[in-house]
């Protein structure tokens, strides 16, 4: 446990050294500039659009971080040959993989938390300029605590993507890992279509294949509740719990496979 924590903290420090936190500055600038501009263009929809933009930006920045740092977790150590000194230490290979993953998750948590705080700050500023009319017409509160539900599920989604990137990076090149992770990400949003394949295809074999793929691919669309949050619609705690549990289960499977593959890999 101590070893895992040590590897995770070092992974986080490495991300800070790699200037990953610069993305926070870009996010803040994007949000502030956009909130100024949209106020002039959107016929009183600046709060809604700032929420949409903020949540989307958190997702996009997080995705880039998850994929591009995720694929480098293992391959960078191999490339720099630092893997040999690491493996010479009394560390289990599985601990190395899981620790590295936890380090990146910590980086993601810190980044997402700061971006969320920035979003709330910009919204609070917009609130000071909001007209009574716009306030009355809003569907959801300005500083809506439900935004945290959307951000929370987004974080779990990013953790799934990170685990996917890590899984691919244990047995393929960084570029191929990035491509494969991105493909899984795209497919993850369309997986609900696979479930309904029986409505458009008659072949039982294809139907079974589609159903199998539906359960195999991560259902990333289920983590997206931004529309409900922005429009003030309810999201039950039960939905949050089930979706989070699904995400954590999927991550566990990927980490077990990653650790297994990495443990058997020959670095000679």
């Amino acid at each position: 446990m101590k070893t895992l924590g040590w590897i995770a903290i070092n992974g986080f420090r490495e991300a800070v050294r790699d200037k990953v936190m610069y993305s926070l500055v870009a996010f803040a600038v994007l949000l502030i500039v956009a909130s100024y501009i949209v106020g002039e263009l959107t016929a009183g929809q600046d709060v809604k659009i700032t929420k949409d933009l903020g949540l989307s930006a958190i997702g996009i920045f997080g995705l880039f971080m998850a994929i591009f740092i995720g694929i480098g977790l293992v391959s960078k150590e191999v490339e720099r040959r630092s893997i040999y000194s690491l493996l010479a230490k009394p560390i289990r290979r599985s601990d190395l993989v899981i620790g590295k993953y936890l380090g990146l998750v910590l980086t993601l948590v810190v980044n997402v938390a700061v971006m969320t705080a920035a979003l709330y700050l910009v919204l609070a500023y917009l609130g000071t300029e909001e007209s009574d009319l716009a306030r009355q017409a809003r569907e959801a509160p300005l500083l809506d605590p439900a935004l945290l539900k959307a951000v929370g599920l987004m974080l779990v989604q990013l953790m799934v993507v990170t685990a996917t990137a890590l899984f691919f990076s244990t047995f393929s090149t960084p570029i191929l890992s990035a491509v494969l992770t991105f493909l899984v990400y795209v497919a993850g949003f369309f997986s609900a279509d696979l479930r309904n394949f029986d409505q458009v295809v008659d072949s039982r074999v294809v139907q079974a294949l589609a159903r199998g793929l539906y359960y195999m691919l991560p259902n990333l669309a289920s983590f997206d509740v931004t529309a409900q949050v922005v429009h003030g619609l309810p999201i039950t705690w039960r939905y949050m719990a089930v979706t989070t549990a699904y995400g954590l289960t999927y991550i566990t499977i990927l980490l077990v496979m990653s650790a297994t593959i990495f443990s058997r890999r020959d670095f000679k």
């Binding site: 949209v38 929809q45 949540l55 009319l133 716009a134 017409a137 997206d224 931004t226 429009h231």
Partner: protein, 316 residues
């Protein structure tokens, strides 16, 4: 820094300034020769493709299409208004230029509301855009009603959409029975305001009446969900006031014309005759225009052109 490196720095700065200036000049030169554009340039994708193409960022894409719709509508109606008020512009039948097109407006609103089916403002404000008569808009109340009915599929509990449908039937189509039915359906929904039921009755009995129109616009101003919609409703209320004022002014002018046996061509004639104490101004403060003995609002006024009242025109 030695002389050589200072020289190269000066050279670099000079080059940046020179090419910067050149770039600005080229930019300005290019701007003065716009390319021919086509409405087809606006990206139009099917509902399914629109949803699929943006993954999880559907709301953001809906916002972008909404902003595009506002800009499209604003720029088109501005050009149409300028053409309408240009004294040298020939009538549309003789003009070589085709009328300003609003063809893409519904498509943009449709995509925006498909990507975000609960985009309330895009439905309500979009319907106002679509129903507005040329030059303010495309004059397509049928599409406005279609957009509002699409809103009711996702949010059947919202009485506001029935109110807006009734409004379009009343003001733009002059179909008072349908307007009344729409108001009634809205009034039947939980949470609907008490006045919607009385509006349904008034519309049926006194359709086309100016006071009913005034009531309708006043309630639209009061229930508006943004400043622009409220401003548009207030403009319509001022236009109705201006029509009242013109109706009071015209008999005075006709009387002076009958007395002097020649058409009144300027306000001075009326002032000298003691018929008026000052040049009359519309509710925005702009002077009324007197042309061939008829009073109208000035083309400089934000009330120009005055709307065709439901009761004063034949039903389509």
């Amino acid at each position: 820094m030695n002389g050589r490196s200072r020289g190269s720095l000066v050279l670099a700065v000079a080059a940046v300034i020179l090419f910067g200036g050149l770039s600005i000049w080229l930019q300005a030169a290019r701007d003065s020769m716009p390319l021919a554009t086509s409405d087809n340039e606006t990206l139009y994708v099917t509902e399914r493709a629109a949803g699929r193409g943006v993954f999880t960022h559907r709301l953001l894409a809906a916002d972008l299409y909404w902003i595009r719709a506002i800009q499209y509508f604003g720029s088109r109606s501005r050009v149409a208004r300028v053409r309408q008020t240009d004294p040298f512009e020939p009538p549309p039948s003789l003009s070589l230029e085709t009328p300003v097109s609003f063809d893409q407006l519904y498509s943009l609103l449709d995509i925006s509301t498909t990507l975000d089916p609960r985009f309330n403002i895009a439905y309500r404000f979009g319907a106002i855009f679509l129903a507005a008569q040329y030059p303010e808009g495309p004059g397509r109340p049928d599409l406005a009603v279609a957009l509002l009915k699409k809103a009711l599929i996702t949010s059947p509990e919202k009485w506001q959409y029935w109110h807006d449908i009734g409004f379009v039937y009343y003001w733009n189509r002059h179909e008072y029975r349908q307007a009344s039915e729409a108001f009634q359906r809205g009034a039947d929904l939980p949470g609907a305001p008490w006045w919607l039921r009385s509006l349904a009755a008034t519309t049926l009995v006194r359709g086309g009446d100016r006071e009913t129109s005034r009531l309708l616009w006043r309630q639209l101003a009061e229930t508006a969900e943004n400043e622009d919609a409220r401003h548009a409703a207030n403009i319509k209320l001022m236009q109705l006031d201006a029509i009242d004022q013109i109706e009071r002014l015209q008999p005075v002018i006709d009387a002076v014309a009958a007395r002097t046996k020649e058409p009144v061509t300027s306000w001075r004639v009326l002032l000298n005759a003691g018929a008026l104490r000052a040049v009359p101004r519309d509710p925005t403060g702009e002077e009324y225009r007197l042309s061939s003995g008829r009073v109208t609002v000035s083309s400089q006024s934000s009330l120009f052109p005055l709307p065709v009242e439901p009761g004063s025109s034949p039903r389509p």
